[in-house]
Each structure stands twice: as structure tokens, then as C-alpha cells.
Symmetry: C2
Subunit: 352 residues, 2 copies
């Protein structure tokens, strides 16, 4: 299996020389694109869109048709794994993800098992195969999963939360139970990402959306340790090519040194961290991905270009940087503004 024709993204993650800084956007196939909304309407629901490989493939490719992006990301949800465990993922209108059967009783936790990704998550693997075929080796395809802790948050809370009272009550009162869930999640996420790699994804990203809600000490014990376990279990290459891994703990800017030590190839950063400072702190251990404030995309073209250049300049050039937003793109973003950012990244970083 050859590297894609545009492999800038993979080289940047591996800190190999690049001609320009590669760029992609978290949630690049999303509601800010009218063509996405159209396909989603056809699918009937967000979950049906995730579970229909041909439609997941269609929306994965949509942002690449509009913008000069350097990577595609599998269209899916971070919560497919607990859904495959039988918790019943659903989306209430305008409320974010929820589970019909959150983990509340000790026996429910004891009964939890890691799903077989080639069985209950077959639809994801089918989508990967279909997307790889459609991409025809143009740019790399990124696979992903929620982190063990982030999955546990949703599994125990039953949905999003402002204060994570239920899962944190378990953390402080019954750490043994939370560790049991996290152990199973780590196995499940490892198996899931390895199946994605075997199906064809060329890099993987772990979204630790809620790790930043933990205390510095609890983060290490309940999130980072399990991220490390997943990373240790991942296939490092497939078909003779390295498959780099990216770890993104939103709000984890204070813990970069620790994250850089778990064996991942790159760290995702939100906009609160100075890239220059981050680069100094992690040394040559890992590449960095990020970190423009998604809200900067609501500015004028000049202001967007200026902010894009500022982010690039804060990294300061050289390899090891993948440009991205510091969080998923807002559904309210005017699509034309994304072009300004993407083109500025390429132009400014190549010195043209």
C-alpha cells in the first residue's frame, strides 16, 4: 500500500520535512455545509448517516470537494463504541448525544464487555473501505474514537453534563468501578481503532473531550493512563506504512509534558495554549496539531487571514505542525470563510 499522493499530513505528524503546513478541520464534514445538511436529511437522522456507509462516505468527501484540505476524516461519532456495547445511543433534538441505558448499577458495569468491531461496528469498517476507494489515494484518511474516559463520562452520566457529578461521584467514591469501566473501554477502543487501521485508515485520533474536566491528579489516573494503554495496543504500521496517532485532550494544555510521554505521535491543542510554548515544552517528542479559535472564522476575510498567520507564526515553521482549529468547527460558520483560512495556511507556510 503506497502513501497517498498528498502525504503532507502524515509527514508532518511524523516530523518529517514538508513543503507547507498541512491543514484539516475537526468536524470538517458538518452542519456548516449545506450539502451535508442535504445528505443528512436524506439519511433521516445523524445516527442513520453514521450507520449507512455510502452516505458516510458521501459526507466525508464533501469538504474535500470545497477546500484544499490535506486529510479526510472518517464520518462517524465518538460514541459508536458504547452504542455497540448495547447502551443505546440516540440524539435528542438540539441536546447532544444521550444513552437510553446509562451505567447506573454495579451489575450493569460488571456485565460490560468490549464489542467485536468487525461485527457490531461493521458499518464503520465498511465506510472506511468505501471512503478509501473513493479517495483513490489522494489524501490520507483519519480514523478516530472517543477516549476511554470520555466514553465513560457519557456512559455513566447518560449524556453530556455541566459538572460530571455522576461520573465524578463514582470516581471519588468507587474508583474501582470506574477503573473497571475504563479497562473495558481501553480494550474496546484499541480493538476498534486497530480494526479501522486494518480497514484502511492511515492515522488515528483519540478525542478526549472531557479529560480536561478532571483534576490534574485524576486526569493522570483516570484518563491519561488509559490513553497510554490504547496507544500501547495500537498497530504502529499497516501495509508497510506507519500509522501515526494523535491524542487530543480538550483543556489539557497544562499537561502536555505528561501527554507527550505516552507514546503518541502528535498532540492536539485547543486555542488556550501558545504553540511556541507548547513546542518548547514537548521538545522533539511529538508533533502538534491545532489550534485556531473556531470563533475566529466569524471574522472578516482580513481578520481570518491575520489570525491564521498568527497561529502559524506562533509555531514558527519547520516540520511537526498540522494546522487545525482548537475544537470542532461551529455549525454557524460561513463556508466561504473556511477557504480563506485553508488558503492562507498553504500560502503563508510555503512562503508564497
Amino acid at each position: 500500500m503506497a502513501r497517498p499522493r498528498n502525504d503532507t499530513f502524515l509527514r508532518a505528524l511524523l516530523r518529517e520535512p514538508v513543503e507547507y503546513t498541512p491543514v484539516w478541520l475537526m468536524r470538517q464534514a458538518g452542519r456548516y455545509l449545506p450539502e451535508y445538511c442535504e445528505t443528512r436529511k436524506r439519511a433521516g437522522s445523524f445516527l442513520q448517516l453514521c450507520k449507512t456507509p455510502s452516505l458516510a462516505c458521501e459526507v466525508t468527501l464533501q469538504p474535500l470537494a470545497r477546500y484544499d484540505l490535506d486529510a479526510a476524516i472518517l464520518f462517524s461519532d465518538i460514541l459508536t463504541v458504547p452504542d455497540a456495547m448495547g447502551l443505546g445511543l440516540y440524539f435528542a433534538d438540539g441536546e447532544g448525544p444521550k444513552f437510553e441505558r446509562p451505567l447506573r448499577q454495579e451489575w450493569e458495569i460488571r456485565d460490560l464487555t468490549a464489542p467485536n468491531p468487525n461485527d457490531q461496528l461493521r458499518y464503520v469498517m465498511d465506510a472506511v473501505v468505501e471512503i478509501r476507494r473513493a479517495l483513490d489515494n489522494s489524501v490520507p484518511l483519519i480514523g478516530f474514537s472517543g477516549s476511554p474516559f470520555t466514553l465513560a463520562c457519557y456512559m455513566v452520566e447518560g449524556g453530556g453534563s455541566d459538572d460530571f457529578r455522576t461520573v465524578k461521584s463514582m470516581l471519588y467514591n468507587r474508583p474501582d468501578l470506574l477503573h473497571h469501566i475504563l479497562d473495558i473501554n481501553a480494550t474496546a477502543v484499541t480493538d476498534y481503532l486497530n480494526a479501522q487501521i486494518e480497514s484502511g485508515v492511515q492515522a488515528v485520533m483519540l478525542f478526549d473531550t472531557w479529560g480536561g474536566a478532571l483534576s490534574h491528579r485524576a486526569y493522570r489516573e483516570f484518563s491519561l493512563a488509559y490513553l497510554q494503554k490504547v496507544i500501547a495496543g495500537l498497530k504502529k504500521s499497516h501495509g508497510g506504512e506507519r500509522v501515526p496517532s494523535i491524542v487530543f485532550t480538550k483543556g489539557g494544555g497544562q499537561w502536555l509534558e505528561a501527554i507527550a510521554n505516552i507514546g503518541c505521535d502528535a498532540i492536539g491543542l485547543d486555542w488556550t495554549t501558545d504553540l511556541a510554548d507548547a513546542k518548547k515544552r514537548v521538545g522533539h517528542k511529538v508533533a502538534l496539531q491545532g489550534n485556531m479559535d473556531p470563533m475566529a472564522l466569524f471574522a472578516s476575510a482580513e481578520a481570518i487571514a491575520a489570525e491564521t498567520r498568527r497561529v502559524l507564526d506562533s509555531y514558527g515553521g519547520g516540520s511537526g505542525h498540522v494546522f487545525n482549529l482548537g475544537h470542532g468547527i461551529s455549525q454557524f460558520t460561513p463556508p466561504a470563510n473556511v477557504s480563506v483560512m485553508v488558503d492562507t495556511v498553504h500560502r503563508h507556510s510555503s512562503g508564497t
Copy 2:
């Protein structure tokens, strides 16, 4: 004017020797206390409670009757200043603070003026006088305000926000307008806190609840610069006693070195920051206040005591530490659990 009989809190803020680590809780007079809910019901509404000095005094003292706390904090809201500017603060049921007349037009912003705290905010000063009288020099009284940026968030958004799209659009598109608001807010907050000091508060705290939502660069320009302006304009002493200042930027753990340089006496920390690490980073410039996860108060008595000791031990003893939660106490906290924390702080830090 003499120092209060228990001045441990003031000494810790000034990094003078103390016999034990002082403790108070953000939002210590709040809905987790049944007696507070009773008084609030009598007042008719939260805002009426804030605006009635005798009732504000009553609830300020309630947590001190229950717990062995080392400071009282004025019962009020962080948004009294924009309310006094005429924006019309109100609280929709279960939705948090909102403004009837958010700043949306340029002329509204140009028309904005700092209120006279002894006129439009007279009710706050009256409450301070009444509380000081009731405290009878037992423990110090803390005054406070929202930070210029945090006030601006609410003033422009018209309420809380997940993404701060309106205020950040202004930040990136019309930074001149946002700077204009922040300038007026800084003057208003300075005047307001100085009036509180003259009325009798013995320390002041600036709550920068939303500064942590900014990029590292924007934080310095749009929040920290104005916090510095406020601090520079504060009366440093009253009646011959130093009046220490505390700055709390939630989510600002990455920026401690910068915050320590603006002239405040202490920095408030949320639970994501390791106190040992923070102490090293700020050196002897400032005291530190914090930082137990409020959710740890949902654990068993043993687990609460253990977590309390861990927080104390992470600071490592010596002066310059005020124990607190890393955020306001949750309304769902069982009141008995607070005693466990407060008593553990005193016992463990005095080595008894």
C-alpha cells in the same frame, strides 16, 4: 480599624505566617443550604435577595454559623455593575443570568458609562456596612466583582454562552468596540471595588469566569490587561490595614506567570492545576487560593478527608495558601460534607 480576631485569611493572602491554612468556599452562601433557600423564598427572587441589605446580610452569615470558616464573602452577584449601567439583569428559571438590553448596536456601546457605585449600587454598600456590623470583627469580609471581560461577555451575549460567538465575533472583527466596553468596565469595576473597600470589605476578589475561553493571546489583550488596570486603580489599604486582592481566571492555569505579574496579592486556581507546580511557577510573588474539585464533596467522609489532605499536601505547607474549592460549591452538595472538608483543612494543616 483593627484586623479581625481571626485574620488567618488576610495573613495567608499576604504570605505572612499562619498557624493553619484558612478556608472559605466560593458560593458558600448558596442553594445547598436549606436556610439559604428559606431566606431566598422570603426575598421573592435571587435579585431581590441581592438588593435587600438585611437579607443579603442574613445569608452571608449563614455558612459561618454552620462551619468554622475563616472568611465571609459579601452576598451579591458578579453582574451588579452592568445591571447598574442599565442593561436590566434578570434570572430566567434555571437558565442563569440574562440581560434585557444586551449591547448590540454601536451607539449603545458608545453611550455606555460607568455607574456611580454610591448611587446605583448603594444597596451593595449598605449590605457591606450591615454585614461588617454583624460580623463584629470576627472574620474578614471579602468583596468582589466580575472581571471587565467576564462582564463584557454577558453584556454582549445577553447571557451565558457555550461558544461566546457574539462577543468573539466582536473581538476578531471590531476589537476597537470591545476595547471600548472593557475600558468602561475597568473604570466601573475599580470604582465599585473601591466603594466596597471604603464601606468595609477587607479583601477583594475578581471573578474572571470566562477569561479561560479566550486564546492565550486574546486573554492577555482582552482580559488580563483590564484586570491589571483594575488592580492598579484599587485602594491598597483602608483604615491602616492592607486590603489584599485575589484574581481568579477559571481555566487560566496555563497563564499563571502572566497573572502573577499584574500586581494582585493572590491567584485563585481551579482543580486542573497542580498546586505544587503552581507554587514553583509563581515563586514568592503571590499567594494561591484553591483548588479542590467541588465534585469531591459528593464522596464519602473518608474520601473527602483524603482529597482535602491531598490538596493541602500538594501545596506543601508554609504560608501563602488559602484553601477553597476550584469553583463555586454545587447546589446539590450535602451540607454535612462541607464540615468534613473544613475540619480536615484545619486539623491537617495545623498538624493536630
